[in-house]
């Protein structure tokens, strides 16, 4: 069948390019390293440059991959949830909430470290979760049908949080530069603790999404149809929203706001292998990881030795690719 052939090609492509991108991420950087040194560092952990490769480049590459996977998965979940291919992980205000938390901690000058999360990350994570939960609770009480009201409440709450963030930045211009770098996303502070944290969050999210993927197929037909086909709509919706929010909040807390990954990756994968969420979730995650790994590599290399915010790269090179994909699609 045509679809399964496309699936095989996608899987092969993802595997090859991920290995290649991972290898390049370890080899390329301001300090020149040879092939042999990368290999030696990975196998024995010895050599002059092993430290750079193992405690700087490797965790950074892995973190970029995991965050990309988490954002793409979160986007895939929310696109199904809202039955709208334009939804992304930040649609309910996760990003605005996180920015507010991060900027607030910069202004307060908080300093601490918990499980690899700085005060800034921690506050970003908490305020992101807080904002989305608030959005959920407010919109649930009002209406019988919550999808539209949830979406609109999310947009309104996001705007409010953004306004507060801008206000804080406006009052304290000295924090501006630090904040902007975080607001556009970066992996320059990656470490192993963060890698483990995001890995656990991602595996949890992926397992949950995969387990309920069938129900997401039903939900994407509309709640009434889903119900009549045997899906416990309310419970499933709650779980998916929780998973998507956790994934987005964790991603944002370690890497800042990286747009576009969660929007275009699931969309692109859907164009390639079709909308079946049983395949879409896993492959979106794998492709999102690869996409952000390459983006971070480019963010490091394009203006080396200085770095671009990775969010700039994802948009700059994701958008044209996305437009190409959309136009390639046969007209219906």
């Amino acid at each position: 069948m045509k679809t399964s052939w496309r699936l095989r090609c996608l899987q092969l492509g993802l595997l090859l390019f991920t290995l290649l991108a991972l290898f390049l991420s370890l080899k390329l950087g301001p300090v020149k390293t040879s092939l042999a040194e990368v290999f030696r560092a990975l196998t024995s952990g010895k050599g002059d440059l092993a430290d750079i490769i193992l405690s700087l480049r490797l965790p950074r590459a892995l973190l970029a991959y995991l965050v990309g996977a988490g954002l793409a998965l979160s986007g895939a979940i929310l696109q199904g949830y809202f039955r709208n291919p334009l939804a992304d992980p930040f649609i309910l205000g996760a990003s605005s909430g996180a920015s507010l938390g991060a900027v607030l901690s910069l202004q307060l000058g908080l300093a601490l470290n918990l499980a690899g999360l700085s005060a800034q990350s921690l506050l970003a994570f908490l305020s992101s979760l807080f904002l989305v939960s608030g959005v959920y609770l407010i919109s649930e009480r009002r209406h019988f049908q919550t999808t539209e009201s949830l979406l609109l409440t999310g947009i309104a709450a996001g705007a409010l949080a953004s306004a507060l963030t801008s206000f804080l930045l406006f009052r304290r211009a000295d924090a501006y530069e630090q904040a902007v770098f975080w607001l556009l996303g970066s992996f320059s502070l990656a470490d192993w603790q963060q890698v483990w944290l995001i890995l656990i969050a991602l595996l949890f999210g992926l397992a949950g999404a995969q387990y309920l993927a069938r129900d997401m197929n039903l939900l994407s037909l509309g709640d009434e149809t889903a119900r009549s086909l045997g899906c416990p709509v309310k419970t499933v919706r709650r779980i998916f929203l929780l998973l998507a929010t956790l994934l987005a909040s964790f991603a944002v807390s370690v890497a800042g706001i990286i747009g576009f990954v969660g929007l275009i990756v699931p969309h692109a994968i859907r164009l390639i292998i079709g909308p079946d969420h049983r395949k879409l979730f896993l492959h979106s995650a794998l492709a999102g990881g690869l996409f952000l790994l390459i983006s971070d590599l480019m963010a490091r290399l394009v203006l080396a030795p200085s770095e671009l915010p990775v969010g700039v790269v994802t948009a700059a090179f994701g958008a044209p690719f996305f437009i190409y994909l959309l136009n390639r699609r046969r007209p219906s």
């Binding site: 387990y211 197929n217 037909l221 119900r227 009549s228």
Partner: protein, 281 residues
């Protein structure tokens, strides 16, 4: 105890019930059509039978169990539903769409389709004549083709009861006959209990074993087609003048509208019906 029995059902939204005091029964091998003017509560009734419209009062027993106690999966094994409108967002193929009817039967959430599932999916597509479209995306289909895919999905669900909300509304004359012929076969040969909301009275009376006329959310008349297709009842229900004839091919009564011509003024009853627009979407 009947297979499906509805007692004194009131459903709709708090403060404004759309249907009130509805009682009806449905047995295997019965084919019932709910007819009534726009906004009379036909669709609401069909949806309320699956708890898709909130209930305010009443009780529904299905296969000896209170409907409120059934879980989503158990409901899906007893009732299949064909909605009136369906707007696909994602590009699922016809086969994938029909296959979703079998999800609830899979033993685990990660299990694949069994041989029996595949056979049921294939048969449902064959009966509704969509087998040749199975690789197509839903968005590429015409309204009539899509309607048949939805019916195929309901068949693949393999339930004793089928509920259809205006199944003929997107179909041309030929497919209307096909779909009703198929439903008749399912009723006669497989003993399905079928309930449709239907606008076309002649179609309903030619194929259904019973008709229920509702108006303003209440049952106005209930009986066999030959009992209900009667001038006075139709005037009361729909506010129109008709002639009753006998269809030569079925020997059953059939209505023929008396067209009042230009300058027609609505019979006052019709106005009242118009003041309940919730249903008509």
């Amino acid at each position: 105890m009947k297979f499906l029995s509805v007692e004194n059902l009131e459903a709709g939204y708090a403060g404004s019930p759309v249907i009130t005091g509805i009682s009806l029964e449905l047995e295997p091998g019965e084919f019932l059509a709910v007819c009534g003017p726009n906004g009379s509560g036909k669709s609401t009734l069909v949806k309320a039978l699956q708890k898709l419209t909130p209930w305010l009062r009443g009780k529904i027993m299905l296969n000896g169990r209170n409907l409120l106690e059934l879980r989503a999966r158990q409901m899906a094994s007893l009732l299949a539903y064909v909605p009136q409108v369906f707007e696909p967002v994602f590009d699922f193929s016809v086969e994938e769409t029909v296959a979703m009817a079998r999800y609830y039967r899979q033993p685990g959430r990660l299990a694949g389709f069994s041989e029996r599932d595949r056979a049921a999916i294939e048969e449902a597509m064959r009966l509704t004549d969509v087998l040749s479209l199975k690789e197509k995306k839903l968005n590429e289909l015409s309204g009539g083709e899509r309607q048949r895919v939805l019916i195929a999905r309901a068949l693949a669900q393999d339930t004793p009861v089928l509920l259809l909300d205006e199944p003929s509304s997107h179909l041309d004359l030929n497919f209307q006959l096909q779909v009703y012929g198929l439903l008749k076969m399912l009723q006669k040969e497989r003993g399905k209990a079928i309930l449709v909301a239907e606008h076309n009275l002649n179609l309903a009376s030619a194929y259904c074993s019973g008709l229920v006329f509702i108006k303003e959310g209440k049952v106005l008349a209930h009986g066999r087609p030959e009992e209900l297709l009667e001038k006075e009842i139709l005037r009361k229900t729909f506010g129109v003048e008709v002639e009753i004839r006998t269809n030569r091919s079925t020997g059953l009564p059939e209505i023929s509208l008396i067209h009042p011509g230009p300058g027609y003024e609505m019979i006052p009853d019709r106005e009242i019906v118009r003041s309940h627009p919730e249903e008509e979407k």
